[in-house]
């Protein structure tokens, strides 16, 4: 497992047992019980991570399950990953550049729809995603029933229902993490298809970019960002590729593809 550790704190980097140590990013909208999930999974084995200029990442904790060791990184709660605030940028950069083994997206069962925006955005970056539908207890009190199996089928990725406050569902959450890492779960994430005009532009930009991008980065996602005229993503990539990346040339070339 080769993870880019630039955004991980020292203790995580220096962990000698890399083979069996997995990094899980914890993402979600604000107020979905993300911290409760974090505390339930890690118990008291947590400390506040500290990165230069990246203090918005609140905490990092560890736990073990079925002989695998996990580092759970609590990302700031955001409604989106468009990097229009520092919180969103931190979350986006971690998911994209630190390449966690799995991104766990915590959702609020009482208003699932607004949470799925973030799920779909994360799925455009990575397909190693597990959805945790939390606050099931509150949803039940409100008479809301969430068909978790249907949600998983529709998204093409695993989903688990939890009520983290009481600990309900957390064992199966950990089991599914393990099954995903063991390759026991087929993942066929739903990809958003935009209208034909956009798709043509995306393809054009993607073709220009692809030869210069590292293999692990999702070129379609980068093309989408560029299509939104977010060129900062090219800067980030060149930084992570140690500048072996003709950013300025590419930016000009790609600008010609923009509608």
């Amino acid at each position: 497992m080769a993870i880019d550790t630039t955004l991980l704190s020292e203790s995580t980097k220096n962990n000698p047992d890399k083979q069996n140590n997995f990094v899980i990013a914890l993402a979600g909208n604000p107020n979905v019980g993300k911290s409760t999930v974090f505390n339930r999974l890690t118990g008291l084995k947590q400390h506040t991570g500290n990165w230069p200029g990246k203090t918005v990442i609140k905490a990092e904790g560890t736990f073990s399950h079925r002989n695998r060791h996990y580092t759970l990184v609590d990302l700031p709660g955001t409604y989106s990953l468009h990097a229009s605030s520092s919180d969103e940028e931190v979350a986006r950069d971690f998911i994209c550049f630190s390449r966690p083994d799995i991104t766990l997206v915590v959702c609020d069962a009482t208003c699932l729809e607004r949470n799925l925006n973030l799920v779909l955005q994360i799925l455009e970056i990575t397909d190693r995603v597990l959805v945790c539908v939390n606050l099931l207890d509150e949803a039940e009190r409100k008479g809301i029933h969430v068909d978790i199996a249907m949600l998983a089928r529709q998204l093409g990725i695993p989903a688990v229902g939890t009520a983290a406050r009481s600990g309900r569902g957390l064992e199966s959450l950990k089991n599914v993490l393990d099954d995903m890492l063991a390759g026991k779960i087929a993942i066929r994430p739903r990809q958003l298809v935009y209208d034909p005009e956009l798709e043509r532009s995306i393809n054009k930009i993607e073709k220009r970019l692809a030869p210069y991008l590292p293999a692990w980065i999702n070129s379609r996602w980068v093309a989408l960002r560029v299509l939104e005229r977010d060129f900062s993503i090219l800067k980030h990539i060149s930084h992570h590729k140690n500048n072996d990346f003709p950013r300025q040339v590419l930016k000009e070339e790609v600008a010609l593809c923009l509608p």
Partner: protein, 78 residues
């Protein structure tokens, strides 16, 4: 044709549907991410004492918008 109503014109307690978002660029994206998409139902919860901003209930979350932003969001009252 009647003048189109915006979110800024709606009284507290009313419920409306988003018709169109006139805001361009990144702010448009921001509003869409907050759940302000055409067709979405919005309830006006309360206004701050100065009348600005106003709190709206959108897809299960309370979101505060400044009047100048709300004025860019056209709504249907039915």
């Amino acid at each position: 044709m009647p003048h189109p109503l915006s979110l800024a014109d709606i009284p507290i307690g009313a419920s409306v549907r988003i018709a169109e978002i006139l805001t361009p660029g990144n702010n448009r994206r921001r509003l869409l991410d907050l759940g302000l998409v055409p067709g979405a139902r919005v309830e006006i919860i309360r206004r701050s004492p100065s009348g600005n901003p106003t709190a709206y209930l959108i897809k299960g979350a309370v979101i505060a918008l400044r009047n100048e932003n709300a004025a860019q969001i056209l709504v249907d009252t039915n």
